[in-house]
Structure formats: structure tokens, C-alpha cells
Amino acid sequence: MALGACQLEEGAVVGLPRALLFYELYPFWKALFEKLGLRIAVSGPTSRDVIEAGIREAADEACLPVKAFYGHVMALRGKVDTVFLPRLVSLKGGTYTCPKLLGLPDMIRHNVGRLPRVIIAEVDETKPGKGLMAAGLSLARRLGRAPGRARAASAAALEALGVFRAGIWSGRPFEEAAGWLGPRDSGVGSGGEGAAGRDGSHIEPREVARAAEPVRVGLVGHAYNLFDPGVNLDLPRKLARLGCGMVTSEALTEKQVEAESSTRPKEIFWSSGRRVLAAATHFRRGKEVDGIIHVVSFGCGPDSMIGEIAERETRRTSDLPYMLLTIDEHTAEAGLVTRLEAFVDMLERRRARGLGPAGSGREGAAGPAMTAAVDRGENSA
């Protein structure tokens, strides 16, 4: 469809579905629209209702995050003047997002009924002059804003994105990095009980004797799987309750990702997959985590390949525990908790046997250098 004019008055409300690459680009769109004189409304947290609404309209074969996106768009209906559907082809030269994201605006327009008018922006960094900045300028022009204001807004949006990324790369959680000041469920059309996981159940903090230093898990996966508690069944909080420290693949700087990726004979052409694989390599080499959990959506194409490469490389070159956690709308909370507990138990036992990450110099990890030696000795035995 042509990216036609879409005049909107000052103060009109633009709805942003809180799903998929919202978790990578929200500050950019927020700054852009606000500088262009529009108000934004973010859909509520992913709840059971949101997911079930999405399942009704999306193709059966679509993955959970896409179904959640459908649900978020549906939650915005009737509450906003327009829904924003970015077509995110590529966020970095030489890479793509995912075919489903390329077709997403078309899928939404044809599958979701009673849709308010939509604004579409196309971001394709593989083509010169089609990147984020250009998308901002084109959006401003189609909204009928003056060129000067368009440039200022786009520049401010890029700056906001830079600040956000710096925050994420320094390991801050999404809400904090995005400057999310209000309570987490401040969005519109929030259905259900909020961010406490789909079933609202919790794990009680365990009272077990643990090493002085908590085990650390490297959590790798798409940003929308790591940061959306409604999709990942509140996984990070569950891990925290189990007494785990965490570092995510999102916390790697672009430079680190580049350094780990450029040594591959063929670079991965999915931006997120490239990051996940780089993070797995980085965690393995840096010996800063006790184990890796790769969170994937059932049916995710890129992850079916990336997960396999990461797992095989990890097994071949280290004895770092690696768990592939596949999540979809049928995943039961209890089963997930059992798997997490078993995994964390194993990490703690390894820690106790002196098989934790070596060279970290943390207190509690007895004789890091020696641990490394034992580690390798066991491997080759």
C-alpha cells in the first residue's frame, strides 16, 4: 500500500501496540510523535485477554508474539484516533527483522476488523535513505508538518533512542531505560490483571542454603520475549525469586555484538538472531554466567536456526549449561516453574562443586583460577 498522506490534528491520539519491536523502538516513536504535536497511548500490558483476542484473529500458525500484537491492536480499537503500524524491514544494514514483521501491517489491516485509521511507517536500513531518520521525516511530511519541525522531531527521536539504548546496554530493565515513569500498567485498553504473568500466580521466595554469591543466568532471546512479562510468563521475576542474577542479550552493546559476529564465516542476517548468537558466544567466553537460557517462541523461524547453532557451539566448546525454553500460548506456568527450578538447582550444585564461572573474582567462588583448571580437566576427561 502506498504510504499516503495521513493528516492528523495537533493533540490527536496515536495508539502504539505494546508488542514486538515496541520493546526496541518505543522511545523513538514516543519522542517523534510528541514532537510532532501528537499524543501517544500505549496499549496495556499483555494479559490473557489480550493474547486470547489475538489468537482469535491471527493465523493459527503465527507465533505467540505476533498473536499478542494482534491482541494489542484490538485493545486499542475505539480508544485512539489512529493506530501506528510500523513496517520494520531492517534495523541494521545487512540484516532483516523477520518475514512476519515485514508483512505485519498488511496482516493487521486485513485480519482485524473495526480498525481505526492506521499510520504506517517503513524502516529499511538495507536501503540508503530508508532508515529510521528517513522514516521519521517521511512520517512528519505525511502528517503535514513543516520540514524544519520534521527534522527537529526526527533528530530528537534518534537522540531519545540513543539514550534508551545506552540504558539497555548498561543492563537496566526496559521500563527504566524507556523512562517509564508511571506504573507498569498505565496503558490504555489494559485487560486483565496486569504484569503479574498470564495466570497471575507467583513463586514463593525459596529458603534454601545457597552460595554467598547468587548464580547468574545469561538470558538470551528477542527483546519482546525478554521484556514482555505477559509473553514470557514473567520469567525474569521468576528467576529473581529463585535467587538468580541475570544478564540479558539486550545488554550487549552494538560494538560487542559486532565484534562477536564479524568472526563468523557468514554473518547472521536476522538482527535479533545475530545479537542472540553474539551474546551466547560472549557469555561463554567471558565466563560471567553460570548458564544460558534461550527464550524462544514456538514456531519462531530465526530462533529455530539460531538456537540450534548456539546450543551446538556451546556444547562443543564449553560445559556451560544451556536451556532452550520454548513458549507459546499453551505453555503452563507450573511446567515452566519446574523447569526453571531444576535448571537453577543444577547451576547451584555446579557452583557448590566449584564449576561456576571462573575468573570472575567474586567472593564465594572459591579459587577462580583453579576452578577453571578443574573445569577444563573434567571436560577433556
Partner: protein
């Protein structure tokens, strides 16, 4: 160096011809079967798409026959196929096969990369020899596709069940053995005659039903590999359907590999597909996603009674297409059946779905005398009229 490659329909005859013509020692993997699929499923990633599992099965079979290197195609995304070679190399490595993979793909740096690989593979044969071998393979490919077209046309009206397929099988074997381009052409015309000889003097299919026209769209591997699509063309043909395959390998080569300037008809067709899809899908989505939508609409304009989409389970581009095809079907009054297939697909279930679909198409055909009359004055008819009007400018 003994080289092998994965199966995809009749592709093996073409690749074998080209590589042998260049003097390579070629190991053709055993045809995909339950056994090779089992090996593939055992060793390939659980959630990889179906073609990758069959590839692994092919390679395991070929390595057992003594292959030392694999020629594989690659890609630059966003479809998963572009990373097949990397994952497959890892799987084979962990199985203890340190096999060399020569991946032919669009170069990222400069075109020299590609030719360097070709030179390496052929042991430095001059370009003229390479082009000669490719032309010979191309001749065979075109002939094989012509035989396939004849087979699907004759099958619904064959004299005795399986007669057309028998003639086709014999013709393919003869074509495989053809030693030069003149031989290919001679054996093609003989083969076409033999397949045509299996046709009855009637325009009606089994039990006197009129022959239905059904378009088959979808992902290239699933369309071309009969083992992967559970011989959907045979199943439909035996139900009295003339299958119009949206994608033949020779067409794909014309669109993607041959110089665009030499293929004006293919270019027009590709443009018509894009334009037909545009109201529904206005951006490429990798693989054949856009083509599946566009070709389904062109099938309708071409008078098809219905469309079947075949794709591997979890195929990303085809999921986009499958999300939009119901809308296309509603707008145009075109029945569409989307089939996502993998190793778990049961034969009986598939057969039942196809029979039910064909049944539906027959009833529709009976209710409306001619396909053209069925939508007069409806909004679908007007929409189709506008589309046809536009396409008249774009395609012949």
C-alpha cells in the same frame, strides 16, 4: 572430490548433468523416503522447517554412498533457507562428518566471490566450459518441466489410472540419459507423445465429472518435491483436477538467475504478480510469500476453480500469505485451502481434506455453469474487473 547435493523434485537430473558435464564425480543421494526422513528428523533441529530435515536425510544417505563435499544454495534472507548451509554443516559436523560445503549464494562483497567458488568447484575449468554445461542443464530443465506440465494435464483424463505417470516416468529416465541438447529435444517430443497417448478422448474426468482447474501456490520446495507434498499433484489429478502449478523451476531460474533483459515475459509476469498482490500485501516478505498471494489472484483471473497453498510447517513467509489468502478468497469468491505440512502430516488426513475441497469445488462448478458467470454484478466481480483491467496493461 565426490560431490553431492540435496534433492528438490527433478532438480537432481539437472544438477547431476551440469556437474558431470564439468567432469565432477557426482553422488546423487537416494530419493527422499520414509527412511531418509527419519534420519533427517532425528538429527535436524526439532523446529527447523521441513525442507531442512529432508536435506539432512539426503546428506546422510549421500555420505553413506561416499560423498565428500556438498554443493548447496544459500541466500541473504530473510527466509530461513539462507542459513540452511550453516546449520546443516553443524549438524553433520556433530555427526562426525567433516564434509566440505560449497555454498553458492548471492555474493555479499563482490561478484568475484561467486565465480571463485565455481572455479574452485570445477577445478579451474574455463568459463566457456561452465557456460556450456549450464546450457545443457538448462535444456534438460526446460524439458523436464514440459513433461511435468503434460503429466498434470493428462492425469485427470487418463485412460487407466497411473498410465500417464508410467509414461512420464519412462520419459524422465530417457531424458536423464540424454547425452546432448539435440538428444534432449528428441526425447522430449517422444516423451510428450507418450504421455499424450495415455489420455482418453474425453474432456471429463473420473465418473464423468468435468475436469476442475486448481492452482497450487506456496513455498518452492514444497511445490516441487513430491515426497514433501505427499504427491499432492497425483492426489488432485486422480480426483479429476488439472493442477496449475504456480511455480516451475525453469520459471524460477528465468526470474531469478537469467539476465532480466532476456526474459521480458517473465518480468511482466513477476510484475503482474506483485501488482495483483498489492491490495493485500505490498512488500516482499522473503521466500515465496508475496508470490503465493499474487499467484492465487492470477489463478482466479485465469479461471481456476480454487487454489491450494502448500508450505512447510512454521514457514514464515507462507504464514504471512496464509493470513491474507482467506481475505483474498472472500473478496474474489475463490476457495483457498492452506496446507502446512511436515513429518507429522498423516496421509489419510491430507487425502480427506483434498477430497472435501474438490467436492466443494465440484458443487460450486455445478451451481454456476461457467466460472465467468459466477460473480456478475457482485462486488467481487467488480473488484476482479478492475484488477483484470489493470493487469491487461501489465501482462499479455
Amino acid at each position: 572430490m565426490r560431490v553431492t547435493f540435496p534433492h528438490m523434485g527433478n532438480l537432481w537430473i539437472v544438477v547431476k548433468t551440469v556437474l558431470e558435464d564439468l567432469g565432477l564425480d557426482v553422488v546423487v543421494p537416494p530419493r527422499p523416503s520414509r527412511q531418509s526422513l527419519e534420519a533427517g528428523v532425528r538429527h535436524a533441529p526439532e523446529f527447523a522447517c521441513f525442507p531442512l530435515k529432508l536435506n539432512i536425510g539426503d546428506f546422510v544417505g549421500a555420505l553413506a554412498k561416499g560423498a565428500e563435499a556438498i554443493v548447496m544454495a544459500g541466500g541473504i534472507g530473510p527466509c530461513r533457507f539462507g542459513h540452511y548451509a550453516q546449520v546443516e554443516a553443524q549438524v553433520l559436523h556433530d555427526l562426525g562428518h567433516d564434509v566440505e560445503m560449497v555454498v553458492l549464494e548471492p555474493p555479499r562483497g563482490h561478484a568475484g566471490e561467486f565465480w571463485a567458488k565455481v572455479r574452485y568447484l570445477t577445478g579451474g575449468k574455463p568459463l566457456r566450459r561452465v557456460i556450456g554445461a549450464l546450457r545443457f542443464g538448462w535444456e534438460k530443465l526446460k524439458a523436464l518441466d514440459d513433461l511435468d506440465r503434460a503429466l498434470v494435464a493428462v492425469r485427470p483424463i487418463e485412460l487407466a489410472r497411473g498410465a500417464a505417470a508410467t509414461a512420464h516416468r519412462r520419459a524422465v529416465a530417457l531424458l536423464d540419459a540424454a547425452a546432448d541438447r539435440a538428444g534432449v529435444r528428441r526425447r522430449l517430443s517422444e516423451g510428450l507423445e507418450a504421455i499424450g497417448g495415455a489420455a482418453a478422448e474425453t474432456e471429463h474426468g473420473p465418473e464423468g465429472w468435468p475436469v476442475l482447474e486448481v492452482g497450487v501456490v506456496g513455498e518452492i520446495f514444497m511445490i516441487l518435491e513430491p515426497f514433501a507434498n505427499q504427491e499432492i499433484e497425483r492426489r488432485l489429478g486422480e480426483l479429476g483436477v488439472h493442477v496449475r502449478r504456480a511455480l516451475y523451476l525453469s520459471d524460477w531460474v528465468r526470474t531469478h538467475l537469467l539476465p532480466a533483459a532476456t526474459q521480458p515475459a517473465r518480468r511482466r509476469r513477476a510484475k503482474a504478480v506483485r501488482e495483483a498482490a498489492r491490495p493485500y500485501l505490498s512488500h516482499f516478505v522473503g521466500g515465496e510469500g508475496l508470490e503465493s498471494v499474487g499467484e492465487a489472484i492470477l489463478c482466479d483471473l485465469g479461471g481456476c476453480d480454487g487454489v491450494v497453498q502448500v508450505a512447510p510447517f512454521t514457514c514464515m513467509p507462507e504464514i504471512v500469505a496464509a493470513s491474507l489468502l482467506p481475505e483474498v478468497g472472500r473478496d474474489l469468491g475463490l476457495p483457498v485451502l492452506s496446507l502446512f505440512l511436515d513429518e507429522h502430516t498423516g496421509e489419510a488426513g491430507l487425502q480427506t481434506r483434498l477430497e472435501a475441497f474438490v467436492d466443494l469445488l465440484r458443487r460450486r462448478r455445478a451451481a454456476r455453469r461457467t466460472p465467468a458467470a459466477r460473480v456478475c454484478g457482485t462486488s467481487a466481480g467488480r473488484r476482479r474487473g478492475r484488477l483484470r483491467q489493470w493487469l491487461c496493461g501489465a501482462s499479455t
